[in-house]
């Protein structure tokens, strides 16, 4: 049984009577009085370092030209909630966190910013970032520099074996001012063998966690 989990820059380590959680923004240790199971599960990228953003802006770096109906896979961040039983101890970020304004600083909206990339072969993807498929409708050729999606639209899925893989539900969007605005998400999972997980951490509790840890040396 695992006693240490590393995902990107996040680390959860269980030792005798203790659990240590760590990411670039927090390092904290908890004493465990009973042999309570510690669980880890992905969650939406909205809690680290504080809950601020209602949306995610995926900066594609290299602009993408789309025309007609374009389907592409992009990398999307996520966070990890660590819980003892049903009580969430901490939410960690496996990736560096940045925010941006979409619109003006006066009337825009604060979004979580992420340097994303278009992936040509998602089945062989072996890095920590989550993957999401997006269908872009564009009657004329357009240049896309980023993707804007509201957090409450995102559907999060996880595959736990042979290793942790995070997926997002297939998104649909249209282009305006070089940005794809996601307007809908498909109900069905984007691939087989995925389990849907709850999006945001609310009331500081969690109901189920599948990646349980037992005490290590």
């Amino acid at each position: 049984m695992n006693n240490e989990l590393r995902v990107g820059l996040a680390r959860v380590m269980r030792r005798v009577g203790r659990v240590l959680v760590e990411d670039p923004y927090v390092k904290e240790e908890f004493v465990l009085v009973d042999d309570i199971p510690i669980g880890v599960e992905p969650t939406l990228p909205a809690h680290v370092p504080v809950r601020l953003a209602e949306c995610v802006y995926l900066d594609l770096g290299t602009p993408v030209v789309v025309s007609g109906t374009t389907s592409m896979w992009v990398t999307i961040p996520y966070e990890l909630r660590v819980a003892a039983g049903e009580r969430v101890l901490k939410v960690l970020s496996p990736f560096r966190v940045k925010h941006t304004v979409v619109g003006t600083p006066y009337e825009g909206i604060i979004c979580r910013w992420f340097k994303s990339a278009v992936i040509s072969n998602p089945s062989s993807w072996d890095r920590a970032e989550g993957l999401g498929k997006i269908l872009v409708e564009s009657p004329t050729p357009e240049v896309v520099k980023g993707i804007y999606v509201r957090l409450n639209m995102l559907k999060l899925y996880v595959r736990e074996s042979p290793r942790l893989q995070v997926f997002y539900g297939t998104m649909k969007g249209h282009v305006r001012d070089n940005i794809v605005y996601v307007s809908g998400v498909e109900e069905s999972p984007p691939a087989e063998g995925l389990r849907e997980v709850r999006g945001l951490v609310e009331h500081n509790t969690a109901r189920y966690f599948h990646m349980e840890f037992r005490e290590g040396p």
Binding site: Y25, V50, L52, K98, T100, V101, P105, I110, W113
Partner: protein, 293 residues
Amino acid sequence: MFPQDMLHKLGTMFEALPALERQILLYVGVAAAIGVTVAVAVFIRYWLRRSLRPKVPPHIYVGIEKIVVYGIILIGVVAALSPFGIQLTGLLMVGGFASLVIGFAAQTVFANFFSGLLLYIERPFKIGDPIKVLDYVGRVEDISMVSTKIRTWDGVLVRIPNEKLMNSDISNYSKSVARRIDIPIGISYKSDIERAREALRRMLEEHPLVLVYPPPKVYVVDYSDSAIVLKLRCWVPTSMWFETYMELVAKVKATLDEAGIEIPFPQLDLHVKEPVAINLLGREREALSGVST
């Protein structure tokens, strides 16, 4: 002229009635007039509730409703009682005079009340907004008919009359989603400016709450007496402005230390044109003479 003819005919018929029946009819008429007045007041209250209540805060709405409804009832009842010799004009005159006296006495109260209404219409802030007004900076805790309460950052509850607020400059920090941070910092004239700028820019870019857009900037603003002054400029979410400002100010020195950039003390170079005689005293003179021998 139809209504006048009708009224004249009704008046003649009324005069022709026996005294008792005339009296009964008078009471019935007065009761009906009062009933109609109350019905009109109830209808207006219903209309006010439908149109104003969803838009106006309760503490302002309740006052408006009471003034309008009781005013209509008072005027209606007095007008209905006019057949008994109670004259509306006389009452209005007395009321007007009383209002004048009360108005002078309660000038400040009314000024505050109407300022409160104007503040509501203009809405420069709402409860919970961080604002700066007069010498006070804090969060708005309550807006009432005559005053506004602000909880300052050091925990003091300040009550400001609405009239004073209306005549003051108000800065509302929550009206933008992002707010700018400016931090000036001096580096020594011996330092590499580009190296310092690069280190500070990287520090800003690594902070999770410094926004990617608008992009952070570090630039030279002044060649002052003791230092080259750089300015760090970035935007952060408004709700996290102070926390981020504190963190960045604290990190600036560590970042410059790490990059080998010196933050100089204020210094003054003194050049003396003529040789100046220096008188040495005590041990210094002995030590100097010992060295020379």
